[in-house]
């Protein structure tokens, strides 16, 4: 409580925040790929408050369902690290398979599905027991991981195979594969489970797929005046819970595209930092945090006004971002 009061008085005094935030506690965790650290950002003051040393080459980051734990892919340590999300004390390591890059939790909170970039595998891990439940062979260089809201369907993308693999989580078997454009990096289900959005970094597109029929519903292309097409490289995708809007990080185009998720038309491009890759909403979705790898900062976007509010300096090559509701 007092922390919120402090935050409010700081913001009123400094006048450095461009809007008066609704006081909703939130904490933002950012992995810094090159520094081997996590930056903790106070989501109310929008200031970095702590930097914690973690494992080597930290990339994917996520919170456990109860927000007690922060899970980090320590890619060069070939492990997933678990930290207490409030104190950032190290809790334990989880087996992960080699070179874990990105992962996603089953909506029930367990198990964890991990993409092993170096070994063409998805590893399924019980985060309570710390045991490997299964290994699923996929295409070359798996990265993107999406899971349906009912937990029945897992989508993994393979960067060099250029496919989105649809995996039945009951059997851990691939039931279908959809070819997408070159170098798919991210897979995101909509909250109603009716669409999965897959970005293709080199192809420059985002493909929207119907998960049940695997029909391709749309392929979104981007065009920014003054920016060479080759620099438009979609990576992270987030869709609002109401299914109305999507945000796509466009890599070295240094912009986030705002997409009407019903018509699939691009509404706007928002200039952020350099080489923007991953995105995460605040719990109320009023803010969107972006990791700008090449400028070592995180941008904060007001999702209602569609404006970039500020940049927050973090460590080197920020990669993943996760937001807690405390």
């Amino acid at each position: 409580m007092s922390r919120i009061g402090t935050a409010l008085s700081i913001s009123l005094a400094a006048g450095s925040i461009l809007f008066a935030p609704q006081i909703s506690a939130q904490t933002v965790f950012v992995t810094n790929e090159k520094d081997n650290t996590v930056t903790v950002i106070d989501g109310d003051t929008l200031e970095a408050v702590k930097t914690v040393k973690v494992g080597q080459r930290p990339r994917g980051v996520t919170l456990s369902k109860d927000e007690k734990w922060l899970l980090i892919c320590a890619s060069d340590d070939n492990t997933v690290q678990v930290y207490d999300a409030r104190t950032m004390e190290f809790v334990k390591s989880l087996p992960s398979g080699p070179d874990p890059e990105l992962f996603i939790l089953h909506p029930s909170g367990n198990p964890l599905y991990i993409a092993n970039e170096d070994d063409n595998l998805v590893t399924v891990v019980d985060i309570e027991k710390g045991t490997v439940l299964a290994e699923i062979p996929v295409g070359v260089e798996p990265e993107g991981m999406g899971i349906s809201p009912d937990g029945k369907l897992l989508v993994n993308t393979s960067e060099t195979t250029n496919m989105a693999h649809f995996i039945d989580t009951a059997t851990n078997e691939i039931i279908d594969n959809v070819l997408v454009d070159s170098r798919p990096r991210f897979a995101e289900f909509t909250k109603d489970g009716r669409q999965v959005w897959v970005s293709a970094e080199i192809g420059g597109t985002v493909t929207v797929i119907q998960p049940e029929t695997r029909e391709i519903l749309a392929k979104i292309t981007f065009s920014i005046p003054g920016i060479v097409q080759d620099a438009i490289q979609p990576v992270g995708v987030r869709v609002t819970k109401d299914g109305k809007r999507a945000f796509v990080a466009l890599g070295p185009a240094n912009r986030v595209a705002v997409v009407n998720a019903e018509t699939f038309e691009v509404e706007k491009y928002l200039l952020v930092g350099q080489r923007v890759w991953q995105l995460a909403f605040s719990p109320d979705e009023r803010l969107l945090f972006t990791t700008n790898g090449a400028s070592n900062d995180v941008s904060v976007i007001d999702t209602e006004k569609l404006r970039v509010l500020r940049s927050i300096k973090v460590g080197r090559y920020p990669w993943g971002v996760a937001v807690a509701s405390f």
């Binding site: 299964a134 060099t160 078997e173 080199i202 192809g203 029909e215 391709i216 060479v228």
Partner: protein, 430 residues
């Protein structure tokens, strides 16, 4: 029902091995054998009909044609090329293609032919007559042309992965030859852009006397003219190819190189054209004036570097190291991207028919990702693969061309090498 229980337990029992038996993959991948359209739409396996033709894998055979040639040994003990140079790159590409191929029932196989020029052409021609449609060549320019002639009229494509000869892309271009190796013009342009960006515009050009050295020197002259550098002095380094190794050596080098490089008008960088690798490694730190060295030694332009880790390159290096037990060299990369291009075409067309794949590969729809941060495509006027070029020291890639600020109407990658309006190629067509 029973089979899926068995398969589930099979997955668990195979925890230690990332590869399931092919039989299991075929069994649970049953839906994939059905005629799926480009959207990958699946059908119910229990009711759909499966013909025996659809159950068989499509087979694509790729020939790697290596010309055995005499080459003088390199100056440094560290630079002797491994025996499987290029072959390892091919093996990795076949493995990568097959990882994707198992989802599409496509199988890639490699056929390596190593021989002197004449025999090589004969043996490749035999295989092509038997239906092989793809030949990746590590060969001298004349041999590439001979391969092209031998395959003329057939549905076959030669990938030049080994020669930077500019004439092969220009007046000697051929409809059935594409190039994954960068041309000398591309390499020299890549270097020139960086040197001009650095404002090192005054060059002292030193070149060897072998034909390849002279060709590289010509490319450097063209690049200087193109990007606004000035060659203030040019000298040929004449040497006697004596014994590579003797029990002494540095005492004389320490005398000869400074003497050779003195009395040069003011210059910023020494650019060197010693493709034969007979003296160039002696030049850095030995010049009369304290100057950086770039060209075939010093700061070197190439299609790949074994320490490139950007753009997911670590994954390529890691897979290559595991397969070959050595770092990847530019020739390995050139061969890899050629075979990956065939794989990409096969994935997109769902076909193993060389005619279809070649048409797709040469079309405007084709692109392939090559760990260089952007799409790689084949130039429509001469079949040269457009690609960023790395400028590197022996230890690290330092920078990548095209450099910032060099603009182009269609693709910045076309600021490297001979551009379409200048092209002398009239025999190539998509």
């Amino acid at each position: 029902m029973q089979s899926s229980v068995w398969l589930r337990s099979l997955v668990r029992r195979r925890l230690c091995r990332p590869w399931l038996p092919l039989l299991a993959i075929t069994a649970f991948a049953a839906p994939l054998t059905l005629p799926v359209d480009a959207r990958g739409q699946s059908t119910d396996p229990t009711t759909a009909k499966q013909t025996s033709r659809q159950n068989e894998a499509q087979r694509i055979t790729i020939i790697l044609a290596r010309e055995l040639r005499d080459a003088p040994p390199p100056l440094s003990l560290l630079d002797f090329p491994p025996e499987d140079e290029g072959i390892a790159g091919a093996k990795l590409a076949i493995a990568d293609n097959n990882t994707t191929g198992r989802f599409l029932k496509q199988e890639f196989t490699l056929d390596v032919i190593e021989a002197a020029a004449d025999e090589l052409v004969l043996r490749v021609k035999e295989k092509a007559s038997a239906g092989a449609g793809f030949v990746v060549a590590d060969a001298a320019p004349n041999t590439v042309l001979a391969l092209s002639a031998a395959l003329d009229g057939q549905n076959a494509l030669v990938f030049n992965a080994g020669s930077g000869d500019d004439a092969l892309r220009e007046e000697n271009c051929r409809k059935n030859v594409v190039h994954t190796a960068p041309s000398r013009a591309m390499l020299a342009d890549a270097l020139a852009q960086y040197l001009v960006w650095k404002r090192w515009r005054r060059w002292f050009l030193v070149h060897g006397t072998q034909p390849d050295d002279l060709a590289y020197a010509a490319a450097l002259r063209r690049a200087a003219n193109r990007f606004g550098a000035k060659i203030v002095e040019e000298r040929a380094y004449e040497y006697e190819v004596g014994s590579r190794r003797a029990d002494g050596g540095h005492e004389q080098i320490q005398q000869q190189i400074p003497t050779f490089t003195q009395n040069v008008p003011d210059y910023d960088v020494l650019v060197i054209a010693d493709e034969s690798d007979q003296f160039g490694e002696y030049i850095p730190y030995m010049t009369w004036d304290a100057r950086p060295v770039a060209g075939t030694q010093g700061l070197v332009a190439a299609s790949w570097h074994p320490a490139l880790e950007q753009w997911g390159g670590t994954q390529f290096q890691s897979r290559f190291q595991k397969l070959a037990n050595r770092p990847a060299r530019p020739l390995d990369y050139n061969v890899w991207i050629a075979i990956r291009s065939i794989g990409e075409a096969a994935t997109r067309t769902r076909s193993a028919d060389p005619e279809k794949l070649i048409a797709y590969l040469k079309s405007a729809e084709f692109d392939v990702a090559g760990f260089k941060g952007r799409k790689l495509t084949f130039r429509a006027w001469n079949g040269q693969l457009r690609q960023p070029i790395l400028l590197s020291t022996p230890k690290l890639p330092l920078t990548v061309s095209p450099q910032p600020g060099f603009l182009h109407q269609f693709s910045e990658l076309d600021t490297l090498g001979v551009d379409e309006p200048e092209s002398k190629c009239s025999n190539y067509a998509p």
